[in-house]
């Protein structure tokens, strides 16, 4: 059964879309990730124009992160003040990101930019995760103590200090704003929430307590991707509601299954699985960039999306 997507202007198999939504839902339930970094490349693979894929997956992330935020708000594990500061940076970053996105789109380079960003980030994150989880498995076998992480660095020497009660921090607002800015930029260009960058940054750079990290990052992601969706919808007209609904239906159901499967697996196994998946997607994208394309030419029109060669 095919469905004609009104904005993407392509006809795609409905079960393929439900399947992608479902798969990403299962993964996000299993690993507790937003899944934006997987949904966008998967949409590329089925022939959705990159601009539509990025904008629509931002919309999708709003859905997958909002229920998380609500759960964390009930448990009071959200640092609202830190979240707001991060968001402030994020909004600026997203606005700049959409500008860059539109400029490169007019040059015909947006496809390359998005794919390159994916290859770099998925490669780095996937690689780090893989190494880290292999080490963790070895460590758990030897059952030695976890190494201490470093405390206090250059972050504490900066001006404009602010007190973050929930996190128990008294630090300058510059690093959180920069982190937010960077994540916002990525969100607009890659159609991701950016949790995979923000969570490590909050733990290692800002020294936030682990229990508030996930909630706070979800809080920022929800608002940020919501803002990105609106920006893409009003400047590029690339949010495809029919596509979003299909992905949502699949995602919502998949997430519930994923949560159950995730509970049965060990944390290290989960992380190795996720890392391999990330590396696989990265390899496929890199392969496409490096191998001689079967069609060297692409058609773009000022009014419509790119056609697949």
């Amino acid at each position: 059964m095919q469905i004609y997507l009104p904005i993407a202007e392509v006809s795609v198999n409905i079960f393929l879309l439900l399947g992608i939504g479902g798969l990403v839902g299962v993964l996000s339930g299993m690993f507790g990730v937003g899944g934006g970094f997987l949904i966008t490349p998967l949409l590329f693979f089925v022939g959705i124009p990159p601009a539509v894929a990025v904008a629509t997956s931002a919309n999708q992330i709003v859905a997958s992160s909002i229920s998380g935020v609500l759960a964390h708000l009930r448990r009071k594990t959200v640092d609202l003040r830190m979240g707001t500061v991060l968001l402030l940076g994020g909004l600026i970053g997203a606005a700049v990101g959409v500008l860059v996105f539109n400029y490169l789109r007019s040059l015909g380079q947006v496809d390359l930019l998005v794919r390159l960003c994916y290859v770099v980030f998925l490669g780095v994150i996937g690689g780090l995760m893989f190494v880290e989880s292999v080490r963790a498995i070895r460590r758990s076998r030897r059952s030695g103590p976890a190494p201490r992480r470093r405390q206090r660095g250059w972050v504490h020497a900066l001006p404009f200090k602010m007190r973050f009660r929930t996190s128990g921090l008294y630090i300058s607002v510059i690093p959180p704003i920069l982190v937010g800015l960077f994540v916002g930029l990525l969100s607009a260009i890659m159609g991701v929430g950016g949790g995979f960058i923000m969570v490590p940054a909050m733990i290692y750079l800002l020294n936030m307590p682990t229990k508030v990290v996930v909630g706070t990052s979800l809080f920022q992601i929800t608002f940020l991707t919501g803002f990105t969706t609106l920006l893409h919808a009003t400047t590029n007209y690339t949010v495809d509601m029919a596509l979003a609904v299909m992905l949502l239906i699949g995602g919502v159901i998949g997430a519930q299954f994923g949560t159950r499967v995730g509970l049965k697996l060990k944390a290290e196994q989960l992380r190795i699985l996720l890392a391999s998946l990330v590396i696989l997607v990265c390899a496929k994208l890199a392969f496409d960039l490096l191998v001689h394309p079967s069609e060297l030419y692409t058609i773009a029109s000022p009014l419509h999306q790119e056609e697949q060669g």
Binding site: L112, A244, L248, T298
Partner: protein, 258 residues
């Protein structure tokens, strides 16, 4: 009054054959559908084009050939070419094409060059390359022709451009029929449908009509909303996402409690 109308009918009756007399033959056309509706389940459409040739004079011994052409709305395009730079393939050169139809199918009753001479093709713009207008390429692009060829190649692969030689069936030099398949990825607009009658490669009669291709229902609504009220559209998308995300977790929590 009656006399006047009688006179008019008489005049018309004289005038019409007189105009047709230059060619002697006229097309009477039928279409299986005058309108193509792009709905949510749209997977393409097959249009049956049939007709008859009305004539006053006896049939010319020279074989009559028929050419049917359907053209989607013409739009400007940018064609980009990838080149290997720093080890990766990226877009480098680009050429702007002034007009190219988003869809074009030409069906003939025989090999195109036999049915239509080169000059007649040029005059009436029938074959695919004639439909693409490219005024000039930037100075640094030497082979602008390759870019137009690429448009034709890509669109042929996607069934957007079709040359169907021998696809028009002509019976007794009077009846003809053909069917043209339109793919799912159509652009909205008026699809100009032209029928040419040719003899010895020359056009003896031409007939034009329009097939209307439109998004309808939900497709129409969403597309219009996204272009005319982008903010409302964006907010609506967000609302759906919020309801879906929040609703799902609430529903599953309820289920687990029971």
């Amino acid at each position: 009054m009656i006399r006047l109308s009688l006179l008019l009918t008489l005049l018309l009756a004289v005038a019409l054959p007189a105009r047709a007399a230059e060619t002697g033959e006229e097309v009477v056309l039928g279409l299986s559908q005058q309108q193509v509706q792009i709905t949510t389940g749209f997977t393409g459409s097959k249009i049956l084009i049939f007709g008859a040739i009305k004539r006053e004079a006896p049939i010319d011994p020279e074989e009559l050939e028929v050419v049917v052409a359907i053209a989607g709305p013409s739009l400007p395009l940018i064609v980009r070419r990838k080149e290997r730079q720093f080890g990766i393939w990226m877009n480098t050169d680009s050429v702007e094409i002034d007009r190219a139809p988003s869809f074009y199918a030409v069906a003939t009753s025989g090999p195109l060059r036999e049915v239509l001479t080169w000059t007649e093709d040029l005059r009436h713009r029938v074959s695919i390359p004639r439909m693409i207008r490219s005024v000039g390429a930037p100075g640094e692009v030497q082979d602008a022709r390759a870019f137009t060829d690429a448009v034709i190649r890509i669109r042929q692969n996607n069934d957007l451009y079709q040359t169907l030689e021998g696809a028009v069936e002509v019976t007794e030099q009077t009846l003809f029929q053909t069917s043209i398949a339109m793919p799912a990825n159509l652009t909205e607009g008026d699809y100009l449908t032209r029928v040419f009658l040719t003899r010895d490669g020359r056009v003896v009669n031409e007939f034009e009509t329009v097939i209307d291709v439109r998004k309808v229902g939900l497709e129409r609504f969403l597309f219009n909303l996204s272009r005319n009220q982008p903010l409302i559209y964006g907010l609506l998308s967000l609302l759906i996402a919020i309801i879906a995300g929040w609703g799902a977790s609430a529903a599953f929590r309820l289920m687990q409690r029971n």
